[in-house]
Symmetry: C2
DNA sequence: GGTGCGTGCAAGTGGACACTTGCACGCAGC
DNA sequence: GCTGCGTGCAAGTGTCCACTTGCACGCACC
């Protein structure tokens, strides 16, 4: 209904498909079912429009957060990873475009680094809490572990569609696998029934698996 | 000297800075110190030129490979990670551009997924060798561990320049940190003096660290 | 019923782009 | 000395792009 929002929305969609140079004002106007001139009347220039549209995307946060008092790390961490994977997977196109534009147009995607920074910092704090309570082996490097788990999740979200065969399958189990691995790496004992051993490390679809 | 190679080289450079749409034939010709017309005489079209140029980049492989007979996993794996990080870091701009173009121009970067596939598969095989020799805890998920380590390395190579504060520092120690974590995750005991405990988990530069 | 405001539409401007054509020059080999 | 090849250069074509202008229409509010 609101013309301005309609245009912003369309611009975000077009940008995530075509990047900055591919987002012509014609395409955006068409996607918004609005006259091209109207776009200029509202935003003045393509650059200003896209900047605002992309800012809007990057502002949306990942939601789910880790508990202040860890009680069941495997479960809590798996949930958190799941929600992060989902969040990143849904936004993979925009993220890819932002990563590619960042060097050429830093002002466009300035806020794009906020989300990963926040996520890493939150995860790191969680690991430190575990350490402080003596629930870990004590001698691990929390920032490295946080970077590693975030990396696994990021990589999965960005790459799975293009090369599904290099990731643990089915996709729905991947977050649990990553969470389990990182917890073992930092020496957190697994609850007996919860996550110790994946029910089947050999999955029923070996023909396409990594050899 | 060879005009054709000169142009290909320039095209690769320009593409990695500006992406497909930003790689105008004028810019490429200028970067190659060649007349724009010459570009067309050699390659017929911008698309054909860029396809060949990008293929050339993706063909270059990561070099360093993991030993058939593991003798010192922490050291071997750290070396391998170091070489992979270096390889990816040097190519980060092209990789970012390819990731961003992949959906719109799949033919352009078709071979871009080869390198990660090969690396993951090699790493996975190495983990399986360790498992077969009983050097691991035995119940871990090799593909997940491989995906995770590759993810950490990929993430580091792609993100460190834009947000250095979320990665383990100094950069030169990161590969060892990741390797140590993944080895602990899969239950490989650390050699006493080699890598058990990073000499200082707290680094002397706390002001900019993740909080 | 008149005044704005939001919007559409037609037309156009200047520039960039991919790509073409035609010609001139210089150098290597016969 | 002539030929052919590789290259540069000047010019131009048609398309697309960002962005502008001017006008007309319709709806809301006074």
């Amino acid at each position: 209904m609101d013309t301005r929002e309609t245009i912003l929305d369309a611009a975000a969609r077009v940008f995530s498909q075509h990047g900055f140079r591919g987002s012509t004002t014609r395409r955006i106007a068409e996607a918004a079912s609005v006259n091209e001139v109207t776009v200029f009347r509202y935003f003045g220039s393509k650059a200003a429009l896209l900047q605002e549209a992309v800012k809007g995307i990057n502002a949306s946060s990942a939601g789910n957060s880790l508990p202040k008092d860890p009680v069941d790390p495997p479960v809590e961490l798996t949930r958190w990873c799941e929600s992060l994977v989902e969040h990143l997977t849904l936004r993979q196109s925009v993220i890819r475009k932002c990563m590619s534009e960042l060097e050429e147009r830093p002002e466009l995607a300035a806020r794009a680094t906020d989300a990963p920074k926040r996520a890493t910092s939150e995860l790191c704090a969680y690991f430190r809490r575990l350490k402080a309570r003596g629930q870990t082996s004590g001698d691990f490097d929390a920032p490295a572990a946080a970077a590693m788990l975030i990396g696994a999740i990021f990589h999965d979200a960005m790459g799975r569609r293009m090369m599904p065969e290099i990731f643990p399958r089915p996709a729905r189990n991947a977050p649990r696998r990553y969470a389990d691995l990182i917890l073992r790496a930092i020496g957190v004992g697994q609850k007996p029934g919860a996550a110790a051993k994946p029910p089947s490390a050999r999955r029923p679809n070996p023909s396409t698996a990594v050899k």
